[in-house]
């Protein structure tokens, strides 16, 4: 039997270097540049555009899917926790459709949104990775506030919080994905307000 010493000796891991975050940003910027110009993302192109070594890229991201999911998330922010005291309805509306959506539209153009949807519809693995590592986290502030309001008796105690979020967010996705209408249009905003109003009535404890 032949020994294969090379495989038995673990390569020593290089200690974390201070510039790791900068390298990460360079690679994600390069990925985003490729996404925005509708080019295929390959490690070679990322090395060329970012100047970061192939080894460093592989060290940071276990798969290209994870890397693209991270890139698609640039410019998206997790909203701060929502105050359950005060006007809960207004606070949740704002978090879902208000300032956050306008801010998102500035940092995350509609064309990038449309491109993200195309990429995830073409690749379910990427879709699930993006969902697990990014979308789920962004849902937390609203979901936490809904649970807190349920326990206080403000909202009905038998709500399915995830389904409520899906419904409220789904109404906004419908505008962009099915109607093809920008969120900023006054008639789109009016529809979202009416949608929120109906769902909210259904959530309030009777």
């Amino acid at each position: 039997m032949k020994l294969v010493p090379a495989l038995q000796v673990q390569a020593p891991r290089r200690p974390g270097r201070p510039r790791d975050e900068e390298l990460e940003q360079l690679v994600l910027d390069a990925a985003l540049e490729l996404i925005d110009s509708e080019q295929e993302i390959t490690v070679s192109k990322l090395v060329e555009l970012s100047g970061v070594s192939r080894a460093a890229i592989y060290r940071r991201w276990p798969s290209m899917t994870q890397l693209i999911a991270s890139a698609l998330n640039i410019g998206r922010v997790v909203q701060p926790a929502i105050l359950v005291d005060g006007d809960l309805r207004q606070n949740i509306f704002e978090s879902l459709y208000g300032r956050s959506l306008e801010q998102a539209a500035e940092m995350y153009s509609e064309s990038r949104f449309r491109h993200r949807i195309r990429l995830v519809m073409a690749d379910r693995e990427l879709q699930r990775a993006y969902w697990e590592s990014h979308v789920k986290r962004r849902r937390t502030p609203v979901e936490d506030a809904l649970r807190e309001a349920m326990s206080r008796g403000t909202l009905s105690s038998d709500l399915d919080v995830e389904a409520c979020f899906d419904t409220l967010a789904g109404a906004a996705y419908y505008q962009l994905v099915v109607r093809g209408e920008p969120i900023r249009l006054p008639e789109t905003r009016a529809r979202l307000e009416a949608a929120f109003d109906t769902v909210w009535r259904g959530m309030v404890a009777s």
Copy 2:
């Protein structure tokens, strides 16, 4: 000044021929074959695959966008009118998420759905054409039933019917477009039932 007689004489329109519908189906089948195999749709390829002449294709569809929108709609059916007498809640649920969605899943595979979303996200003109000529029509039975129920006092009289539809359909789109979960999964169906329940409570006249 030069006369341009050729432009002044209108070419005689050929009378409608009995086989027009067959030709139409041949062209749409060819378009769908190209869509499903992820090839670009060109008139030349359609002529080659369908055997229908270039002139006949141009005569039937004013633009390639209209043609692709028609092809994307194959297998989608407009549901029959919804009975407002009887269990309206159940009838609307069935029309939106029930049999129709299962039937649609058989005739209109999820992979074609995902492909349709990619195409419309890449081309807003196609998205708007598909919305105007197809999606809007499919909404009619549910929207009519909601209006009738509002006028009878079963549902709240101040509902925005379009927003209600967007919300109910949006919850289903969210499963497919954001979560990436097939509608058939038991946990997906449970979420849709919970979503419907909450929205319905918000729509019922209090």
